[in-house]
């Protein structure tokens, strides 16, 4: 299948010279993008702040579609799992929604006693011109808690613009807490969303190394921690697309350096620990020693168990389509560890530089794609005879209809895939789909088995 002509420049095949790929542009009308919007971007980043009130200012849709759909766990309060909306009605649209917003905020703050409140603007709030900033200021004064507007009108850019809006909102909290008592060997964790409790595992690694975690900003987050996050010595940033903006703000405002990491896959997980340790090497070389011990210990447990899966999965083909490229990089490496072949990799929000790097580290012929859609994905999966597709819920039925295995690596998943034990879970997830006996009944597989020469041609 030929892609739409405006889409051709957003698809590249590794090994083809020169590398060109256009990205970070608005989704093409009518192309059925897998992307969401500005609101989605900011909702994703702020969602895991569990003791804050998250009020969506607009008609009901935006709030109801984001009600408790992400697996970001909390060790305490669970206010983030509720869906609050001003549920604007026709009259509010005509006469303005400010009064309703103010009343809703006062009511909810009194009822739930949150540590802070975030107010998300949706599309029409930007059009009807509610002064959300003023309402927030007023309610903040009355209630004595930070009430922070998030400028997340859906049409004002793509998901990335939403990340920035979220970072701007968090930047208002940072710098307002007491930082005395914070260790010089301390970090903030940015960009891990504590899906299936992953951040607890990561935190534990750091704490075992002797590094204090001041704030896990985007996973099991707390307002009080974020307020004192400027007291940390280092920002450790995963999913750089979503929170790099915040790290940059903290660097220019408070002089806190940052490093980029990923906790997915063995190599990247180990590297994350080493990179943090390296940062403190001058006055605390023992941190690196402990990091090495942790990695050694974890690998001794993991590798023998991984061998079984590698044996079964070796040579199988994988396709990847995820939100941000950081995850794509880690997944390429993780599949390599399983001796699997990555034949397609793409993301909703990658940058040209990231795609170039992906083209460099993948095998010739690998399809690299930005902001794709169901029909393109279908043709890629069919062309490459993929055994497993890694993506989110919207990609799942595409894989299944094509008789292809699937691994959910998005925010709804209930399996921990980060860290060393996460690698084992990942292998198990991939294995349980690829090796399932059900595929033999799918028409695609039946055809291959009855016409073996097709197998030869396509392998």
């Amino acid at each position: 299948m030929e892609p739409l002509k405006e889409r051709k420049e957003q698809i590249h095949r590794s090994g083809e010279e020169p590398f060109t790929l256009v990205c970070n542009k608005d989704s093409l009308a009518g192309a059925v993008s897998q992307r969401a919007c500005v609101f989605c971007g900011s909702r994703v980043v702020l969602y895991p702040i569990a003791d804050a009130l998250h009020l969506v200012h607009g008609p009901i849709g935006c709030a109801v579609y984001t009600w408790d759909i992400r697996g970001a766990l909390s060790s305490g309060p669970e206010l983030h799992r509720l869906s609050f909306s001003t549920d604007l009605q026709e009259l509010d649209v005509v006469f303005g929604g400010e009064k309703k917003l103010s009343a809703a905020l006062l009511e909810l703050i009194e009822r739930h006693n949150p540590a802070a409140a975030f107010v998300y603007s949706t599309c029409i709030v930007g059009i009807i011109g509610d002064d959300v900033e003023a309402v927030c200021r007023g309610v903040g004064k009355t209630t004595g808690i930070p009430v922070i507007p998030v400028q997340s009108e859906g049409f004002k850019g793509n998901k990335r613009a939403g990340y920035t809006a979220a970072c701007n909102a968090m930047a208002r909290l940072i710098g307002t807490g007491d930082t005395r008592s914070i260790s010089p060997h301390s970090i903030n964790i940015l960009g891990d969303f504590n899906l299936a409790g992953e951040i607890w595992m990561i935190r534990e690694y750091f704490e075992r190394m002797g590094v204090e975690v001041v704030a896990n900003i985007t996973g099991d987050g707390r307002v009080a921690d974020i307020k004192r996050a400027h007291g940390a010595a280092l920002n450790v940033v995963q999913c750089s697309g979503s929170t790099m903006d915040l790290a940059r703000m903290m660097e220019s405002e408070y002089g806190i350096p940052s490093i980029r990491v990923s906790y997915f896959g063995v190599e990247d997980m180990a590297q994350a620990l080493y990179d943090v340790a390296e940062h403190f090497i001058k006055d605390a070389p023992e941190i690196l020693e402990r990091a090495r011990e942790i990695v050694k210990e974890e690998l001794e447990q993991l590798l023998p168990r991984l061998a079984f899966y590698r044996g079964e999965l070796s040579g199988k083909k994988a396709a990847i389509y995820v939100g941000g490229t950081f995850k794509a990089f880690s997944l390429v490496k993780a599949f390599r560890l399983l001796e699997m072949e990555v034949v397609m990799v793409g993301s909703q929000t990658g940058t040209e530089e990231e795609y170039r790097e992906l083209a460099e580290i993948t095998d010739p012929g690998t399809i690299i794609v930005d902001d794709t859609n169901p029909l393109e994905l279908t043709s890629f999966l069919e062309e490459k005879r993929v055994d497993i597709f890694v993506g989110g819920v919207k990609e799942r039925p595409i894989a299944y209809k094509l008789g292809v295995g699937f691994c959910d690596h998005n925010h709804e998943r209930k399996e921990a895939l980060a860290g060393f034990s996460g690698m084992l879970n990942f292998a198990r997830e991939v294995h349980s789909s690829v090796m399932s006996p059900v595929w033999r009944f799918t028409p695609q597989r039946e055809r291959l088995e009855t016409v073996p020469e097709l197998l030869e041609v396509n392998r």
């Binding site: 608005d26 009518g30 192309a31 849709g61 935006c62 599309c123 799942r396 209809k401």
Partner: protein
């Protein structure tokens, strides 16, 4: 029992979805159709995810992907580009265009844009049906019914020949329900046009070729002669006066019969009586047998059910149907709640099951799950009947949730739940009575293997 609904400014955990979602689902039930949202990209993506999680089917909903400049200068050019791209890639027979709160608020004149499109664009042009679905007005059910009404208004005609057959406008029911309804019509030898028909499009098979647009859906040819039918049957009494059925009645003199959803024996009997009248034939033996077995099972199970207290929520017409069904098996509906607000819910419930209920239940519109939970917790119910979103309440109260309707996001097979007719009632009855038996069994320390 609380007789006044809670009244909060903020909505917490809504018990409704937004209007364009309903329209998108209705358009999915038309042969060769692609739903299209004229708005920003997020709306389509969020709704796709939400619908996919229930049906486990590919749900392609196109979008105008409006950005800031379009919000300022109007979304016309992007609508045109989007329609061209959808046409090029999907070759649809029809594009169902629903607006969103954004395009309604900036005042995009979609009808005019479509006229311009028709005038300016050469080559392949699918049929276009548009519906206004501002999400600040109504819920997904208004979007659903308005989309159906738009389809009828735009496409239905009559050939002035003798009238025959039946139009069936079932509302938002499951693919399994629609398959069963079609089976019934076939057994009555009644030619039928079911609009919309999501039985195949949203519950497809494993196929050798990936279908860009899932096959199935109401054939356009059938829609175009809906004016030739003897009558239309429309399920639900809470929709607006102007509906698919009422338009057909007004324009083509096709009698419109509005019935409650056929859930429970009494409501299903009424439905079969109408079918008898229209077809002129008796109720086929198969359905008499289904009814007989259902009555038999009602009797077998009645003691497990009598006096059990239920909380019911969902779309208004579904709530009416469920309440009538539960009332007739001796379960006491305590709370009947909907996020919709037609103003007719209470009246329908009283009319359907007034004399069956020893005590009037709390019937409230415009409710969210916070309201529902607040009331339910004070009522000490035995079971909850509704979609997956009531699970947190069921867990909190440690009582069973009987999953019906949409969305079913925490189980497989939401699309295969049968709710309607004698067979659907049998299915619901078995679910309800077994949940009660299981509760009794689990509570007992004995470990009975017979109950």
């Amino acid at each position: 029992m609380s007789k006044n609904p809670p009244s909060y400014v903020a909505t917490t955990n809504a018990c409704k979805l937004c209007t364009p979602l309903g329209a998108a689902i209705a358009f999915k039930g038309i042969e060769g159709a692609v739903p299209y949202l004229h708005g920003s990209q997020g709306c389509a993506t969020y709704m796709r995810r939400y619908i996919i999680s229930h049906f486990n089917e590919p749900i392609d909903i196109a979008s105008s992907s409006l950005s800031e400049k379009h919000a300022v200068y109007g979304g016309g050019p992007n609508l045109k580009l989007g329609l061209m791209n959808v046409t090029e890639k999907y070759h649809p027979a029809l594009i169902g265009i629903a607006t969103t709160c954004l395009t309604e608020t900036i005042g995009d004149d979609v009808a005019m844009f479509l006229k311009e499109y028709d005038r300016d664009v050469e080559g392949e042009k699918p049929l276009m049906v548009q519906v206004a679905t501002p999400s600040y007005s109504g819920s997904h059910m208004e979007g659903f019914h308005d989309a159906v009404a738009s389809v009828v208004k735009t496409l239905a005609c009559d050939s002035k020949e003798t009238k025959a057959g039946l139009n069936l406008l079932p509302g938002f029911v499951s693919p399994a329900d629609i398959r069963y309804l079609k089976e019934i019509m076939e057994d009555f030898s009644l030619p039928v046009t079911v609009l919309p028909d999501i039985s195949d499009t949203l519950d497809g098979r494993a196929a050798i070729v990936y279908e860009k647009i899932q096959s199935g859906g109401t054939p356009l040819a059938a829609i175009s002669v809906m004016g030739d039918s003897l009558a239309s049957i429309e399920f639900g009494h809470t929709m607006a006066a102007e509906s698919g059925g009422s338009i057909l009645e007004k324009r083509f003199d096709v009698e419109n019969i509005r019935l409650d959803m056929p859930m429970g024996i009494a409501a299903t009997d009424l439905f079969f009586q109408e079918l008898q009248k229209i077809s002129g034939g008796p109720v086929p033996e198969k359905y008499q047998a289904e009814r007989g077995r259902l009555v038999d099972s009602y009797v077998d199970g009645h003691k497990y059910l009598y006096g059990k207290k239920a909380v019911i929520y969902g779309e208004e017409d579904l709530v009416v149907g469920l309440t009538a069904f539960l009332a007739e098996i001796g379960v006491m509906p305590l709370l009947c709640a909907s996020g919709g607000k037609s103003g007719r819910l209470k009246e329908r419930i009283t009319e359907r099951c007034g004399e069956l209920l020893p005590e009037e239940p709390g019937v409230f519109e415009n409710m969210d799950f916070y309201d529902i939970s607040e009331i339910a917790e004070s009522m000490n119910p035995d079971l909850i009947v509704g979609n997956s979103k009531g699970y947190p309440l069921a867990k909190k109260l440690s009582i069973p949730l009987i999953r019906v309707g949409f969305p079913i996001h925490d189980r497989m097979g939401g699309q295969r739940i049968l709710h309607l007719g004698y067979r659907g009632t049998q299915n619901l009855f078995d679910l309800v009575v077994n949940a009660c038996i299981a509760g009794k069994q689990d509570e007992s320390p004995i470990g009975y293997s017979y109950m």
